[in-house]
Amino acid sequence: MPERIVVPFGPQHPVLPEPIHVDLVLEDEKVVEAIPSIGYIHRGLEQLVQKREYTEYVYVAERICGICSFMHALCYSQGVEQIMGIEVPDRAKYLRTIWSECSRLHSHLLWLGLFADGMGFENLFMRSWQLRESVLDVLEDTTGGRVIQGTCKVGGVRRDIGQEKLDEMHHTLDPFEQQCRDLGDVFLNDETVKYRLQGLGVIGKDEAYALGAVGPTARGSGVPVDIRETGYAAYGDLGFKPVVETAGDCYARCAVRVKEVYASIDLIRRAIDGMPEGPLDVKVKGTPDGEYFSRVEQPRGEVIHYLRGDGTKHLARARIRTPTLANIPMLVKMLPGAQLADVPVVVLSIDPCISCTER
């Protein structure tokens, strides 16, 4: 029997954008056990809810994560709106949907780039980030911020997108989709990519369900969970269907994200077509008194904001369950059996976002 050794992976590692530590127990080059540990960048943002007014906390919620920032603000705002019984105008809902999907686009393109870098395909990495830059430009033009949008607030949105800009976005979507399809073609059909990813880190449907996986990680294993199906914001009107793959390996998780890029472009197009006229926000009066579980589909999966108000202008408690935390059990099951050289690719395949996880 070969000798077992323990190799530390992270918290600082070239493929990891953020610090997560995994102790890998190896037999020769093969991983037999993986023990994760987190807790390197805890910032105590949940506690801040007791020190900031409930309308101000949107800005804090947005800074929980630099990539899914808009969705955190959206999830928090929806929770407070539900507690206070506020009905958001339709135009605000559509604008929220457009910005959510733009965030998903840039997050997935960022991940595809990092993933390509993780498997050693530098050229593809550069190409993905080049496409991501055009999404960031649209976000900056419409909100004023590239990654921190700052447009969502309790009761609606802070900015409008003019009809001229909407038309311009609509026109640029077609060439952009073609570029994305060229890029996705490489991820889905290139032999070297397939050779590297297929059959790696396989998790079946039942096991993924039992481990409580969310987002593209679960959908890559054939579990059709997507919170957008519940119809928050304008998703109910747009007719949304989740992207599901069944193989359960790294290639399937990559394919889900590539196809979600296409789906997001389609959703933005339909949201622009169906954009209603009307006000952007409603006046917020009073203070939240009650509790609510707010759920939103982020690029990495389902995020839950539990909010409890006690009738004062400060909320009493906020608890945030982020998708990466739900996906770490999947990661622990995926790693055993993989070669040491494949570990970076497997770790990246759940799209770990540690600053979300540790708040």
Binding site: E56, L124, E140, G144, I148, R159, D182, D185, D190
Partner: protein, 132 residues
């Protein structure tokens, strides 16, 4: 299918020149909505203090008696909430990003607004608006 999926893109990139902006030579991209930094017009500020109360990160401080408006650039997150809330239009959001700061340096502005002489009509209302 095959191993040459990327070839088309590679050839296009070879012929296309650099994609990145040559930053110091070419100025950084901004747009009218870009949130760079907050500036104040001391001539119109009436020291109402709404900006300091709305600020989510307590970057703005205002002293009514000494007529001083202060901002800590290290705390400011450039969310633009103060600009939206200013009833007199004294605050504006400029597009230029300021150079990074490494310590808390408070930027002080002396408010030069002088209340216009208008003794006959509604003196009470005006002073009430000022302290709001």
């Amino acid at each position: 299918m095959g191993i040459f999926q990327m070839t088309k893109t590679v050839l296009r990139n070879l012929a296309g020149g650099p994609v990145t902006r040559q930053y110091p030579a070419v100025p950084a991209r901004t747009c009218p909505l870009t949130r760079g930094h907050v500036t104040i017009d001391p001539a119109t500020c009436r020291s109402c203090g709404l900006c300091s109360r709305r600020c989510p990160c307590e970057a703005i401080r205002i002293e009514k008696e000494e007529k001083v408006w202060e901002i800590d650039r290290m705390r400011c997150i450039a969310c633009g909430d103060c600009v939206e809330g200013c009833p007199f239009g004294s605050l504006t959001m400029e597009q230029e990003y300021l150079p990074p700061v490494v310590e808390h340096v408070v930027e002080r502005h002396t408010i030069t607004y002088v209340k216009p002489e208008k003794p006959e009509k509604k003196p009470k209302e005006e002073s009430a608006g000022e302290s709001a």
